[in-house]
Amino acid sequence: MLLINCPYCGERDQSEFTNGGEAHVARPKDPDQVNDREWSEYVFVRANPKGIYYERWVHTHGCKKWFNAIRDTSTDEILKIYKIGETPPLIKRFKNTLRSPSGEPDVGSGNFTVKKP
């Protein structure tokens, strides 16, 4: 259960929010100028990285405002929250396989919890 820091209301339980998928996907300014493939990418294709992910949330059961977040989808850690319109901050990909609880390790799936000898 994430604890999400709404930029307008403060820290709230995840159950108050709705995720809005990838952030910074601009709608084509002039849809008629893009071809079918480009348009289909806008409508259907969203980034789905394992790791650093720029995404949107909306505080559905609170202020109803949208905002952006950077979350590591391999750990669910929220690394940064920023408002709509703000320049997306750069987060250096942090390499910390030890911390990743993503659950598909080499031997037993409990093994990510075990420090390698």
């Binding site: 079918d36 789905n48 990285p49 993503s102 659950g103 080499d106």
Partner: protein, 416 residues
């Protein structure tokens, strides 16, 4: 078939104190080159390798799995199998699979415990009723066993269900008697054993890091065990498919989300039918071991952590005890998540792509276990012939450009 399992063979082994069993599959080191590499050792991947060898007589095949066989969604799903889908394309796909299920234990000589105990999909409002009746009609005309069950029939199948005295009463259901469940792990193991027997190299603990291409053609894969060259690569990595596709420069319309499930403590049988409900979101069946296997809805955010939000579990159990008040005294034994890859139209992709020799089988989302034999069989066909089978032809990648989706969300919009 070399490894013949039977009661005689079991007794024989019993008398040697069970100390002479043979390995179910080898543990080979990867070769430098394969004709075909399948990425992903789930049911779909192992099955694909099996059918490539068995039905297309192909050799020099490897399955590369980053963890352990069946450790992905194959090993963490609620095992519901049915074929009563709305659109013709889907109905043909899942019915193809269901027919294979009906003979799978015999075919593999490994009991996958396919249990045709019937599946009910409940209707809780007028909108559900309309949708379900439409689906039942379409199923019937497609030759699939599908019926409208009224509350009385439901009560007969599942006496413990609370159909009236609840917020959203049960008004009816679709019922497919041939549908049911299977023992998920056995499916992966059975396919693995038989594929191995046909010469397929099954390589575990080997993560594919990158798909290499050259001049628009597949060249091979980079793995944690080194580079493996391959003429054709089939990716069946469920939740991780986009991660792999991206390394070949391909963007797929998939989102990976957690889907959670839980089991209760085991009890003597009380529910002999699989029951699903969309409006009151929960589905349940009881395993042959006695625990209730309960599925939740997907969590609404992308994640690769194989766990989801606690609120989803709470919502699921609210629905469960609303529908089955006798489960108020049951206890949750264990709760887990898988990562499902969801397509915008809730239908899978079994398709070639713009890179020659690269094939994708993905987008099964919350419902691909039931498709395991069918999907594997059709994917093998697609790879072997470099051309889709007529059944999987509609499930191509082009559909997102042209708009010819197979939208299995059903009537997602609500009336009035």
């Amino acid at each position: 078939m070399k490894k013949k399992y039977s009661i005689f063979n079991i007794v024989k082994n019993a008398f040697s104190n069970n100390e002479n069993w043979k390995k179910m599959w080898r543990n080979p080191e990867p070769r430098k080159f394969y004709d075909i590499v399948i990425v992903g050792g789930g049911g779909h991947g192992l099955g694909t390798a099996y059918y490539l060898a068995k039905e297309h007589g192909l050799k020099n095949i490897a399955v590369v799995e980053k963890g352990w066989l069946g450790g992905g969604n194959t090993g963490r799903n609620t095992t519901i199998i049915r074929s009563n889908y709305l659109w013709d394309e889907s109905a043909h796909l899942y019915e193809h699979s269901l027919k294979l299920w009906e003979n799978l234990s015999t075919e593999l000589n490994y009991n996958v415990m396919f249990s045709q105990r019937g599946v009910l999909n409940l209707a809780h409002n007028e909108h559900d009723i309309k949708e379900i009746k439409r689906r039942v009609s379409a199923n019937k005309l497609n030759g699939i066993d599908s019926y409208w069950a009224d509350t009385k029939q439901i009560k007969k199948l599942v006496p413990i269900m609370n159909t009236e005295n609840c917020r959203y009463p049960v008004l009816g259901a679709s019922y497919q008697p041939r549908a049911g469940t299977a023992r998920h792990d056995a499916v992966a193991w059975g396919y693995a054993m038989r594929a191995d027997e046909l010469g397929v190299d099954i390589i575990q603990n080997c993560e594919v890091k990158k798909i290499r291409t050259k001049n628009g053609k597949v060249y091979g894969i980079e793995t944690t065990k080194g580079i493996i060259r391959a003429k054709r690569v089939g990716v069946v990595a469920s939740g991780h498919t986009t991660v792999l596709a991206e390394t070949a420069g391909i963007k797929l319309p998939l989102q990976s989300k957690p889907l959670q499930a839980l089991v209760s403590e085991p009890i003597k049988p009380v529910i002999n039918t699989v029951v699903m409900s969309n409006a009151v979101h929960a589905y349940v069946s009881q395993s042959d071991k006695g625990e209730l296997v309960i599925g939740a809805g997907t969590d609404g955010y992308n994640s690769f952590t194989q766990r989801g939000g606690y609120n989803t579990i709470e919502d699921t159990l609210r629905a469960i005890i609303e529908l089955y008040p006798i489960f108020g005294k049951m206890k949750m034994l264990r709760q887990w998540g898988g990562i499902v890859d969801i397509c915008p139209d809730a239908s899978p992709i079994i398709s070639k792509c713009e890179i020659e020799g690269l094939y994708f089988n993905c987008g099964w989302g919350t419902g691909g276990f039931k498709a395991t034999p069918g999907s594997a069989n059709l994917f093998a066909h697609t790879i072997a012939k470099d051309k889709p089978h007529s059944i999987n032809a509609p499930f191509n990648l082009e559909r997102f450009v042209s708009g010819r989706l197979v939208d299995e969300h059903g009537a997602a919009a609500v009336a009035h």
